[in-house]
């Protein structure tokens, strides 16, 4: 008799457990904590027309951690998604968010003028800075970032062209050194943790 109630209890516990399990657990990708660049890579300085309405040198932003990525405003999907996530990173950091500078470098300089970039970024966060890339500069600095981008004109679109491009996010320390590369889709709190680590290093 005792056996039977034990079995009943066991069965009901198993059933309860089954209920508590989320239905159809999605297969989550392994947590991506980014690729650490060790030793840190001193990035070449460059200057590009910016959404601030003037040319901006990367070195002018020293003193703050920078989160940088490459994209283009015509991109309706991945780039705005990344911008939204970077907005979330800033929010995650709370008051420290002010210490972070987000930089968006366009791989589509023909369409992404400083004005277009400014309007596009203002919809996300007016503090984000956009830089109008050009082939010469991008070729020069691209190697350090492992940057790939290529224009193509597939059939079946009214768009003059689309641009395939690297979708990674780069974390740069306040000395202008590349520290971590995050792949597309990295959770905002992972990036926020990386930024916090850099802020903690600062005197």
């Amino acid at each position: 008799m005792r056996y039977r109630s034990l079995i009943m209890l066991a069965v009901s516990l198993v059933l309860l457990g089954a209920c508590a399990q989320p239905q159809a657990t999605p297969t989550l990708p392994p947590v991506d904590v980014g690729t650490r660049i060790d030793p840190p890579l001193a990035l070449a300085d460059f200057s590009l027309p910016s959404s601030l309405g003037r040319d901006l040198r990367l070195s002018e932003l020293r003193g703050k951690p920078i989160v940088l990525f490459f994209g283009y405003t015509f991109c309706p999907d991945v780039c705005p998604l990344t911008l939204s996530e970077l907005k979330r990173v800033k929010a995650d950091l709370g008051a420290d968010g002010e210490q972070l500078q987000v930089v968006f470098i366009s791989v589509d300089g023909a369409r992404d003028t400083p004005e277009v970039l400014a309007r596009h970024l203002a919809a996300f966060d007016p503090s984000f800075i956009g830089l109008q890339g050009n082939d010469d500069t991008l070729r020069e600095i691209g190697k350090q970032y492992g940057l790939y981008y290529k224009q193509n004109s597939p059939e079946g679109t009214s768009a003059a062209y689309l641009v395939d491009h690297s979708a990674a996010v780069y974390l740069i320390d306040s000395q202008g050194q590349l520290r971590v590369i995050y792949s597309f889709g990295t959770a905002p709190d992972t990036i926020a943790t990386g930024v916090r680590e850099l802020l903690a290093e600062q005197p």
């Binding site: 309706p76 992404d112 596009h120 009214s158 003059a160 395939d164 990674a168 597309f184 889709g185």
Partner: protein, 176 residues
């Protein structure tokens, strides 16, 4: 009594026949949404000589905003297309009055490189299945926005399916 039995039998036959008849897809659209986007002034056609479809004739004369208002920009609409029917269907096109051009595109990610291309032949919605349009995947691409899309607004989308025909949905605008 016999009459009731016959009636029931006929009814059963009718049901059985209708179940065997040419099955139709049964499409429903769940959780549609459109990404919030600003008007960027982006010339979507680049050098192509396609004039913007602005209806300046309806603008009051002397309205400076008609000249200075930036147009353009892109956005995307996402949703799940559910087919509870036993025949596949296909989303072949879409339209909306907030964009000059609407296309079906797919983003793919290969070795951390983002590629986007128009979908040829539409988006299949399998029988008793679904097609998911979501960020970094399939999407309805809105090219050449005619107005800024603010969170909280609603955008009316007309979806054209190969078999089902037209379905109109009102999709809320939100930040991704």
């Amino acid at each position: 009594m016999l009459r009731i039995i016959v009636c029931c039998a006929l009814l059963c036959c009718a049901l059985a026949v209708s179940a065997c008849g040419p099955a139709a897809p049964a499409i429903s659209v769940t959780e549609p949404w459109v990404r919030a986007a600003a008007l960027t002034g982006l010339d979507t056609q680049a050098s192509a000589a396609t004039p913007m479809a602005t209806s300046t004739d309806t603008m009051p004369m002397g309205d400076a905003s008609a000249d200075t208002m930036p147009m353009g920009g892109t956005s995307a609409a996402y949703m799940t297309l559910v087919n509870s029917g036993s025949t596949a269907d296909r989303l072949i096109s879409a339209s909306t009055d907030v964009a000059q051009t609407v296309e079906l595109h797919e983003t793919t990610m290969r070795d951390n490189v983002m590629q986007m291309a128009p979908v040829t032949g539409g988006i299949e919605v399998p029988a008793n299945g679904q097609a998911e349009l979501k960020p970094a995947g399939l999407h309805v691409m809105l090219i050449g926005l005619t107005r800024a899309l603010q969170p909280g607004e609603t955008v009316r989308l007309t979806l054209n399916f190969e078999r089902t025909g037209t379905i109109v949905v009102d999709a809320p605008v939100r930040a991704p």
